[in-house]
């Protein structure tokens, strides 16, 4: 059931008012997330191999599967507007949501590809026509007002509609930020850390539940657990 709550009346809100919760300690580290991943992994069921050069991120090897370089450039900025990297920590950009979306549109969500192609081009057209610059180069306020106009269905040239395309963008960006990292988003578990989700476990004790967000995040993908990988390398020892 959709519980989205689009445009509610403006009210004073305090982004600084955060719960005092040690479970969030990893959240504000930003670039330090590689280190946080190593901490979480040490207590997990499946030990992670320590990286030889601990402070250097692994090289990123990824092709765009269906979107063009220009489309992804626009999409990256839209994702960053929707779930920003800001003073509270990483967002959709660090999660690699646009990369996730490219993969999704190449496979399970191929039905949405045309809407993305048409929609991203229309956003770009709109920015160039009205502001005179590519979408990625205009100031954040203008980017946001274009997205707001999209959400409020005030623009033409989108499928199924401006608001419909906005919902697609939002849904895919959320998916790409908070999905299992197997799918190419939620990189380094930034999405799960953002909302203090302590991670995929195959069981949770009463004590785990009592700890709640204070439970140290384990930074495990579903597919770090042997039963769910295509092969366990040991002749099916985990067959239940």
């Amino acid at each position: 059931m959709a519980q989205d709550d689009p445009t509610m009346p403006d009210r004073e809100f305090e982004p600084g008012a955060q719960p005092e919760n040690p479970g969030r300690r990893n959240l504000l580290k930003g670039a330090g997330l590689v280190g946080a991943a190593a901490i979480g992994g040490s207590g997990a069921l499946i030990a992670q191999q320590p990286s030889p050069a601990q402070n250097e991120p692994a090289p990123v090897r990824e092709a765009l599967e269906v979107l063009t370089a220009a489309e992804v450039e626009t999409l990256e900025v839209i994702c960053d507007c929707l779930i920003p990297s800001d003073e509270l920590g990483p967002g959709a950009r660090e999660a690699r949501a646009a990369h996730f979306i490219d993969r999704a549109l190449a496979g399970p969500d191929a039905d949405d590809l045309e809407a993305f192609r048409i929609g991203l081009a229309a956003v770009e057209d709109y920015a160039r026509t009205v502001v005179g610059k590519p979408f990625s180069q205009i100031i954040r306020d203008r980017q946001e007002s274009i997205l707001l106009a999209l959400q409020q269905n005030k623009l033409d040239g989108f499928m199924p509609s401006a608001a419909g395309f906005f919902n697609l963008l939002r849904n895919h960006t959320i998916n790409g930020t908070f999905c299992d990292p197997y799918y190419g988003g939620n990189r380094d578990f930034v999405g799960w850390d953002m909302i203090r989700y302590p991670g995929v476990r195959i069981g949770a004790s009463e004590r785990d539940v009592e700890l709640g967000a204070d439970l140290p995040p384990n930074h495990q993908s579903a597919y770090d657990y042997l039963p769910y990988t295509k092969t366990d390398g040991r002749g099916g020892a985990n067959r239940a």
Partner: protein, 568 residues
């Protein structure tokens, strides 16, 4: 021509929650049973803890037979019907593989809604246009079969009424049961403790509802691990008591059940004498005819009705067992919508929960309270539970606290509140009406070119009034528990395709208004039985699966005990 196979005693069409249960007493009685199932076998390794795959990409049901024949939906006969998704899945075990596993008995009132209402409030209180009838028997008749299913399949829970002894830890309104559940209920959590205490503060009687989920080692299966991927995810340790892990393997152990996966039944074949002789099915590129002395339809409500309507013959020109015109009538989908959602000022600790771990309130269900001054009959079961996962959590209601549902302000909100909201699950008495029905869609076809089912149905005033009443109670409960914000959803209109779809082949003694008799066999076709919620004439205010399983066991038991009378 389809290839003719060797005959069976009984062919069961669909090995889900109901068909799986039916296979066991039949196989144990020594009957040769063939179970035709449109899906395949799945096991615990297929149920990874992956929210995107399970809950958003709908694996595995996205690639299912039922997905190609989803019903079309319209509120009234003057609307255009639109095809949506199908809420169920095909597999050995059917939707019992991945369902919430809440395993309620109906309350005694649900079996006698019409007469009890007339008796207590007068005939004028039965809503206009409703075709509700009493069941052909009362709760007591079904009680032994509820008990059999609870113990054979494995249901955990806290009894509230064992042989008349009322236990306030359980549902004090439940019908009398012969013995307690075979297992303790699912454990409490910080959230269930919070809501339970609030309910007691209101002088209500909170209790943990029953679940077809093990809470201790049971019948060779381990207990629930509370990992949080139960809903639509299937169980990674077989603690969810799907028929695929319980009744079906037990039936196979007898050597009398042959399971045929990936078999899509396209037609039930009737002879000129009005009896059925078997079914036709497609498997891959091959067409088969499976003769049987008795056919049991055990598909979901939409498929049971559809198969009857598609099986025209000279004896049944309007569809099998439909010379009375009753197939597709008395349809209802349970009013489970119109939730109330709350925001709290603290974490609720619900990351590792499940829909069946929760707190129930039955004070406002059925006829458990006086309706004298009210303008409806029936009521609602209030349920709050602990199910939460990241992708759905961040799609939370923002309770007017952010100007947009994106951007920095929204991000700050979900960072703080992802584990602080809760949405209730409110199941309401839903009645059948003259103008709510299933028939074949005149335009939309499945991949074989056969029409899909069309739902024409909407909630009537009685359901909407219950919804309003229940929302008041639910808000009161959340406020008592300290919720800082509460919102209500709309009350509902069209009855969409639902996981709680009832009727269409209603059970009753009157052959003018019902398709099957009190034993589940068609009035017009004595060797054609039907199991599943399509035989239920009322919904009660709780999940249908256990009742449909108890009815299924009862029908199979009757068949085994009266074989020559039914089959020959």
């Amino acid at each position: 021509m389809p290839r003719r196979l060797e005959g069976a005693d009984v062919v069961i069409v669909g090995l889900g929650a109901a068909g799986g249960v039916a296979s066991l007493p039949l196989a144990r009685a020594g009957l040769k049973v063939i179970g035709l199932e449109a899906g395949g076998w799945l096991g615990p390794r297929d149920f990874g803890p992956d929210e995107l795959r399970n809950n958003y990409r709908n694996w595995p049901q996205a690639v299912q037979k039922c997905a190609g024949e989803a019903p079309t939906v319209r509120a009234t006969a003057s609307d255009r019907a639109v095809q949506g998704g199908h809420p169920m899945m095909n597999a050995v075990g059917g939707t019992s593989m991945h369902y919430w596993a809440q395993s309620w008995r109906l309350n005694p009132w649900d079996f006698e809604v019409a007469s009890a209402t007339r008796r207590r409030y007068g005939a004028g209180r039965i809503p206009a246009g409703s075709t509700v009838e009493d069941w052909p028997f009362g709760y007591e008749e079904l009680e032994p079969f509820y008990d059999l299913v609870e113990h054979t399949v494995g249901v955990s829970g806290q009894a509230g009424n064992v042989l008349g002894d009322i236990d306030r830890r359980g549902n004090i309104f439940e019908g009398e049961r012969r013995r307690p559940y075979p297992m303790q209920p699912l454990r409490a959590s910080p959230f269930t403790e919070l809501m339970g205490a609030a309910a007691r503060g209101l002088d209500w009687n909170p209790f943990q509802g029953p679940a077809a989920i093990t809470t201790e080692a049971y019948d060779g299966r381990p207990p629930c691990q509370y990992h949080g991927f139960c809903s639509r995810g299937g169980c990674h340790v077989r603690s969810k008591s799907s028929t695929a892990f319980t009744a079906i393997p037990k039936a196979q152990e007898t050597g009398n059940l042959e399971v045929v996966p990936y078999a899509r039944v396209t037609r039930v074949v009737a002879g000129g004498d009005g009896r059925v002789t078997g079914v036709e099915y497609v498997k891959g590129n091959e067409h088969f005819y499976q003769p049987a002395q008795v056919v049991l339809l055990a598909g979901y409500t939409y498929e049971n009705v559809r198969l009857l309507l598609l099986s025209e013959s000279s004896a049944f020109p309007n569809g099998l067992a439909n010379n009375s015109g009753q197939v597709g009538r008395h349809y209802l989908s349970h009013h489970q919508g119109a939730p109330v959602t709350a925001l709290f000022d603290r974490d609720l600790h619900n990351w590792y929960g499940l829909p069946a771990q929760g707190v129930a309130i039955d004070e406002w269900a059925d006829d458990n309270f006086d309706h004298g001054a009210l303008d409806f009959i029936g009521g609602a079961n209030l349920w709050v539970h602990t199910d939460r996962r990241p992708m759905s959590a961040v799609r939370m209601n923002t309770f007017g606290q952010t100007s947009r549902n994106w951007g920095s302000q929204w991000k700050a909100f979900i960072m703080k509140n992802a584990d602080r909201s809760n949405s209730s699950y409110i199941q309401k008495t839903t009645l059948p009406y003259e103008d709510n029905y299933l028939d074949l869609d005149p335009e939309v076809k499945d991949p074989f070119g056969q029409p899909v089912i069309r739902i024409t149905a909407r909630y009537h005033e009685n359901e909407l009034r219950i919804a309003q009443f229940a929302q008041d109670k639910m808000e009161q409960w959340y406020r008592e528990a300290g919720a800082t914000h509460v919102t209500r959803s709309g009350l509902g209109n069209a009855m969409g395709a639902s996981t709680h779809a009832y009727g269409g082949t209603r059970m009753g003694d009157d052959r003018e208004t019902n398709v099957v008799d009190r034993w589940g066999f068609c009035h017009e076709v004595s060797n054609l039985g039907i199991v599943g919620a399509s035989v239920m004439g009322t919904s009660g205010a709780r999940n249908p699966t256990l009742t449909s399983q108890a009815l299924s066991w009862r029908t199979a038991d009757y068949l085994a005990n009266n074989w020559s009378q039914v089959a020959e």
